[in-house]
């Protein structure tokens, strides 16, 4: 619609951004500036394609996209669920696949069956609350932690935890296991609602181009 406008991407920092750029390269979208490890730049530009990229902390990506500071974001499904923002989730990029699970020692399994009040430690209070209240109809007490969630049941802070499980090896080493699966997760492409309308042609093309390379 507007020829001179940049399309701005917000990418979740770390492995996700790397995988996203690899995927984008397959469809001819590159950003050389971003590969320079030494750079202190915050915004990277591809002048030829009129694209801008920036890196943000995962949970901030939906915020940038919701307010239209970025047109498009790439972020994990866990973050989308936890932030609960108003945005369009248009594509499952497939990578970063893992599961959100309820985990704990095997004897805690019994306590998930009888609607009794238990304590749940998690980095994702919203996802945990939605799962226990709306799907399992079990009243729980949620304890928000910021990392090393596995510690909680071991030191007796909570009965179970809700966390992301990739291979489960950390759990096993600490005598814990997956008790229930909440939902599968992977990287998603999200789009601002206005951008989807106003920049429809460019975004639709991007989605069509991406679909075959993500093997879905």
């Amino acid at each position: 619609m507007c020829e001179n406008r940049y399309l701005t991407f917000a990418l979740g920092k770390g492995r996700l951004a790397k995988q996203t750029l690899e995927t984008f390269e397959k469809i001819g979208i590159t950003c050389e500036e971003m590969k320079d490890k030494e750079t202190r730049k915050l915004i990277f530009v591809n002048e030829a394609l009129k694209l801008k990229f920036f890196l943000a902390k995962g949970p901030d990506v939906p915020t940038y996209v919701e307010y239209g500071a970025a047109d498009i974001g790439v972020v994990g499904k866990d973050t989308i669920l936890e932030e609960g923002r108003n945005l369009y989730e248009v594509l499952d990029l497939g990578f970063g696949a893992c599961r959100m699970c309820v985990c704990g020692p095997s004897d805690a399994k019994e306590r998930l069956k009888h609607h009794e009040l238990i304590r749940v430690a998690t980095k994702y209070p919203r996802i945990a609350k939605d799962y226990f209240y709306n799907k399992k109809h079990q009243t729980v007490e949620i304890i928000k932690l910021n990392g090393s969630i596995e510690l909680a049941p071991i030191v007796g802070l909570s009965e179970v935890i809700v966390d992301i499980v990739e291979t489960g090896s950390t759990l096993r080493e600490n005598g814990l296991g997956v008790l229930e699966e909440v939902c599968p997760l992977s990287a998603r492409m999200v789009v601002n609602q206005v951008s989807m309308k106003m920049e429809h042609e460019r975004i639709a093309k991007l989605i069509t181009d991406l679909k075959p390379v993500i093997g879905k």
Partner: protein
């Protein structure tokens, strides 16, 4: 401690000077555009009984309303949008009226949404309602008014996306989805999560035609040919068919207004208010992360207040529109602010005589007593800053 009381609570703010004037000018332009269509202004209270905005009406969720009690213990709520109030007022004052009623309003709305930091909780909405007319012509009039308003505001690039609530409802009905599946799909469609939609419907037995119609939810710009195709596919599904036919009729009616460039059709639209029963639409532009216009048909809403009247309306989110105009660097003509009259102490009588003369002839004068220690340039700079057209010194 004194500094504390200068703060405003989170989500509300002061608007003053240039910004406030710009907002007033914008609102005047919008009002003018609406008055051109013969609409009359209405004011309803800022707060009403809770039931006006309750669950049956289907506006904003109860948890996002500001609620409080009156002396008798009734629950009151600050209005989250103004349409339900207009519907109530129309049912109350125009119960016998069988001619169409045209009303417009401007006022502040309040949504108590704590999880959205950085979003205002008080915002100004300006809108119009056409009550008691269920024709396509009424749909077209409302849409063209929305376009005229945005054009009058100085916006050049924008899109109105038009859909029909029965398209989604009809799909659900025809596919036999239960309440729970319907909620899931509504959410997926509202988030434009079509791979999610795909997943749900691929596991379902359904006729090929219906499946094709489901695929159409992902199309944002329906051409005439695609619309005709949708009509052909919907032949066995009366509710879907009537939605598509209505959109085609609307397209035709809009030809008369010649606003095709600004309107596009999107069958996958689901309205943000549950009271919408027919045409729904939203307006988008650059520089605003959210829609600047929301609207739709609400044929059942007035029934709730005891009047049978099919209606349609729209509301412009004035603050969003103003922000978008600012970000698009749209130039808004700001009128000059008259004369600054600086008089030496002791010459007040003279100054007042002169000021009164100018004021009587319709001009504006701001009087300032001159401080002997201040340079003339300071007054000139002040005049410049405040858009004064000229400065008179009486010294």
């Amino acid at each position: 401690m004194k500094r504390r009381i200068l703060h405003t609570p989170e989500g509300v703010r002061d608007i003053y000077n240039d910004e406030c004037e710009r907002k007033q000018i914008l609102q005047d332009k919008l009002k003018q555009a609406i008055e051109c269509y013969g609409y009359r202004i209405i004011e309803t209270p800022t707060f009403e009984f809770f039931d006006i905005f309750g669950k049956e009406i289907g506006t904003t969720p109860s948890k996002d309303l500001y609620k409080f009690f009156d002396r008798e213990g009734n629950t009151l709520a600050l209005r989250p949008d103004i349409t339900p109030s207009i519907a109530r007022a129309a049912a109350k004052y125009f119960i016998e009226e069988d001619m169409p009623i045209r009303l417009y309003y401007a006022g502040n709305t309040f949504i108590n949404n704590s999880s959205y930091q950085g979003r205002l909780k008080e915002s100004t909405q300006l809108g119009a309602e056409l009550i008691g007319d269920n024709s396509v012509d009424a749909d077209a009039e409302i849409l063209s008014m929305a376009v005229e308003c945005l054009l009058a505001s100085g916006l050049k690039e924008f899109q109105l996306s038009v859909g029909h609530s029965d398209f989604f409802q009809g799909l659900m009905e025809s596919a036999g989805f239960d309440e729970e599946a319907m909620e899931e799909l509504r959410e997926l469609i509202a988030n434009k999560n079509y791979f999610g939609v795909e997943e749900v419907i691929s596991n379902r037995e359904m006729e090929e035609n219906l499946r094709e119609l489901f695929h159409m939810l992902g199309n944002y710009y329906f051409s005439r040919e695609e619309m005709a195709k949708a009509r052909a596919l919907a032949v066995d599904y009366p509710r879907i068919l009537s939605a598509v036919v209505r959109l085609e009729e609307l397209q035709k009616a809009l030809e008369a207004y010649q606003i095709d460039d600004y309107v596009s059709y999107e069958l996958g639209m689901v309205g943000n208010y549950q009271y919408y029963t027919g045409i729904i639409f939203a307006g988008y532009t650059f520089g605003s992360g959210e829609p600047i216009v929301k609207g739709g048909r609400y044929d059942k809403l007035l029934t709730y207040f005891g009047k049978q009247a099919a209606s349609i309306g729209f509301a412009i989110v004035v603050d969003q529109l103003l922000a978008a105009l600012g970000r698009q660097n749209a130039v808004m003509e700001m009128p000059g602010r008259g004369t600054l009259l600086v008089y030496a102490k002791g010459r007040l009588a003279e100054a007042v005589t002169q000021a009164t003369q100018i004021r009587k002839s319709g001009g504006s004068v701001e009087l300032i007593g001159m401080d002997s220690w201040r340079a003339r340039e300071e007054y000139e700079a002040y005049a410049e800053q405040n858009r004064k057209e000229n400065v008179i010194f009486l010294d």
